[in-house]
Structures are given as structure tokens and as C-alpha cells.
Symmetry: C2
Subunit: 229 residues, 2 copies
């Protein structure tokens, strides 16, 4: 049924195209600096037509953010197989892939971008954090986390965010090193909590029971003992 002339897109198809174009521009430069004119031009349509699909830049920004949030949450999903340290390391690699791909947009969002304070934006950010939290608990095999475990997991998630933001600001440390370091940071924060609380100690010993001698957790303990001696 192609006629040789440019096919007219349906409403949903056009919206999806605009979201994709906007997300790519918002990922390359701070969203503050991207105009609707630019988005229209990159999509090959007129400025008024963009407004036909999205009432304003904020709604297009939020739609792009929704797609990015779904993408990121999807990268947290990891098969429940093999040692925990190796699983977390694979997730960290995909997390830094995402941060690398969306650098300027990620920084602007987390440091206070155009839509910060909007209810939609905050809800999207919280949903991604919650997705990370749920994944980690599921890999630990915990359904009813004690308060100290919730604290360790949620505060580590915020540590991973700030580590990524600091990395983006100049990229002065190789990301491969930071990916491993965040796995070690998780183990270290859990170990500190376990050092204060017997329930956390039992949880951590259970989680580490299947760690291989060459895994990242075992690697960390060896390094810490060497440093302390």
C-alpha cells in the first residue's frame, strides 16, 4: 500500500517519534538549552505541529523522561543466577551505559533541571529508585526487609546516583573502576551495618555464602584486611 510519497504518521506514531527526537537532544545537551524549534527541525515538522502533539516543552520533557525512566528501570533486571557480586556488577555496567548515553540530561535532571519540583518528574525519579530497591531485595531473597536493610539499600542507591553525577563532571576516574567500586561500596555499607546489628550480620553471611573466591566481594574483604594490617 506504499504510494511513493511520504507516508503520514498516526498520532501515536508521531508522538513516539517526537519523544525519541527530544530524548536524544535532551541527552546531548542540558534540556534548558534545547528549544522546541530545534526539536521540530530534528523531527522534520513545523513548530506548531509539535504543539499539536505536546501542549508545551514541559509535557514533551516529561514524556521523554518517562521513556528514559522505563529504559533505566529495565536495565536493573538481571537473572537470579550465579553469585550476587557478579550480578550487581553487570547491573552497574548497564547503569553506567545509561548514564554515559544520557549524560547532560541526567546531570540536569538530578541537579535541578527545568522540571524539577514538578510532581510528574519527582514521581518518575522515585519510581526508578523504587525499581532499583525492589530488584535488590528480590536478589537478596528478602520480602519483608528490616529497617536497617532498607536503609543500606536505599542509601546505597543514592550513593550510586551521586557517584554517577560526580563521574559525569569531568570523567576524571575510569567508569570501569567506579562500576566495581560501587559493588564494593554496597558490600562495605552492608558490612558496616552488619557490624552494628546481628540480624544484618546473618543476612550478609547468607548473601555472601555463595560468593566465589574470585568474586568482587571476596576481593574486597582481602583488600580491606590487607589495608588494615
Amino acid at each position: 500500500m506504499t504510494t511513493g510519497v511520504r507516508r503520514r504518521m498516526g498520532v501515536d506514531e508521531r508522538r513516539q517519534q517526537l519523544i525519541g527526537v527530544a530524548l536524544e537532544l535532551f541527552s546531548q545537551r542540558s534540556p534548558d538549552e534545547v528549544s522546541i524549534d530545534e526539536i521540530a527541525s530534528a523531527a522534520g515538522i513545523s513548530r506548531p505541529l509539535v504543539y499539536h502533539y505536546f501542549p508545551g516543552k514541559l509535557s514533551l520533557y516529561e514524556a521523554a523522561l518517562k521513556r528514559a525512566a522505563d529504559d533505566l528501570a529495565g536495565r536493573f533486571v538481571e537473572p537470579r543466577e550465579g553469585p550476587l557480586g557478579a550480578r550487581l556488577l553487570r547491573v552497574m555496567r548497564r547503569y553506567f551505559d545509561f548514564v554515559d548515553e544520557h549524560g547532560p540530561g541526567f546531570s540536569a535532571l538530578m541537579r535541578g533541571g527545568p522540571a524539577v519540583g514538578s510532581t510528574t518528574t519527582n514521581a518518575l525519579i522515585d519510581a526508578v529508585r523504587q525499581a532499583a530497591y525492589v530488584q535488590i531485595l528480590s536478589h537478596l531473597g528478602v520480602t519483608d526487609p528490616p529497617a536497617r536493610l532498607e536503609l543500606v539499600v536505599r542509601s546505597w542507591i543514592s550513593l550510586a546516583e551521586s557517584t554517577a553525577l560526580i563521574w559525569l563532571d569531568g570523567r576524571r576516574i575510569p567508569r570501569r573502576e567506579l562500576e566495581v567500586q560501587l559493588v564494593h561500596d554496597f558490600a562495605a555499607l552492608a558490612a558496616v551495618s552488619a557490624a552494628h546489628d546481628e540480624e544484618m550480620g546473618a543476612l550478609l553471611r547468607g548473601a555472601l555464602a555463595d560468593e566465589p573466591a574470585d568474586g568482587p566481594f571476596t576481593d574486597l574483604v582481602g583488600r580491606l584486611v590487607a589495608l588494615a594490617s
Copy 2:
């Protein structure tokens, strides 16, 4: 020169009074829920008079936030005497005092309060983080921090923020435990970084050289070694 009738306040004095009244209300309930009428009533003046001193609630909120930020930054100042772990622990106690006193306002601000996204608010939050960063470097005796030290210090500051926020949400863990835990977290994150980088290792060994056998750092290493064995 008192006349027995209520003395009329000068402009600056009245502004300072309103800031104090507003800060107290913003500290007890989320600033979203505090009205100008309430502030006027608590200050014993009329609503229009409040607007005479502050053009709107945002400007009064920002002034209250400025005072709270200065207060918090002041609590980071600690004499450069004695072991580092004990110094950091004293700062953590004062930090939790502040968080405790300003709970609802602190939560609302850090989770996305009425003025989040405002340039003034973001600048005030950044200034407090920077004050914490500068204090820590100064206690470590470092003037030109390598990238990995900057990462450890700044990401630990964000960990301290998220730990305080999670604590405020239900207060399910005793704050005294979290104050010590954050000191241990700092040591643990520094140790992870030192395990990856020789320069960080030398820095950490220097910092720990003066730690007493009963200090929080030594305590942590003992607990970690016990846990690993």
C-alpha cells in the same frame, strides 16, 4: 527609653523576627502546609504587614532557609584536635541535632519542597554541601584533593543526607547508632577507594595513623575482620 507601650521594631529587627517565626513553623510542618496567615498570627502582626517585609511566601521561605543553612554549616566547624574519628562523630551528633530540630522542613526541602528548582534554594543547598566538603578536606589536611578523594567525600555527604532523610521517615533506627554508622561508612568508603588506588591508600593510612585503639575507625576494622572470618 522604654515607654511601657509595645516598642515598634525596626525594619531589620522585624525581618529577623519573621524569619525566626517562619523557620520554626517550617521546621514543625511541611512548608507547603504553613500559610502566611499563620506566620502573621504567630508573629503577632497583620498579614499585609508580612507582605511589607517579604513580597511573598517564597522570599520568606528562602530567607528562613538561608538562616537554617548558615546554622547547619556552623555545626560542621570542629576544632582540629584529637583523632579524626572522634571529630567526625561530634559533627554527626550536631548534624542529627539539626535534622531532628528541623525534621519536616528538612524532608520537604530535600524531597522536593515548594522552592525546589528555585536558583536560590539550589544555591543554598549546594553551599551547605560545599561547606561540609571544605571542612572534611581541611581536617584531612588536604588542599589539592585527587579526584578519588573528592568522590569519596562528596558521595559520602550525599549518603549522610539520604541516611538522615530515611531516618526521619519513621525514626525506626536509633539516631545514636546512625551517627556512629556514618563515621564508619566514611571509613568504609575511603577504604574501598584505597583498595583500588595507591594514592588513596597512602592518604588513608596517614589519616588513620593517629586513631586510638578505642576510636570508631579501629572499632570498625576489628568488626569487619571478625565478620570476614
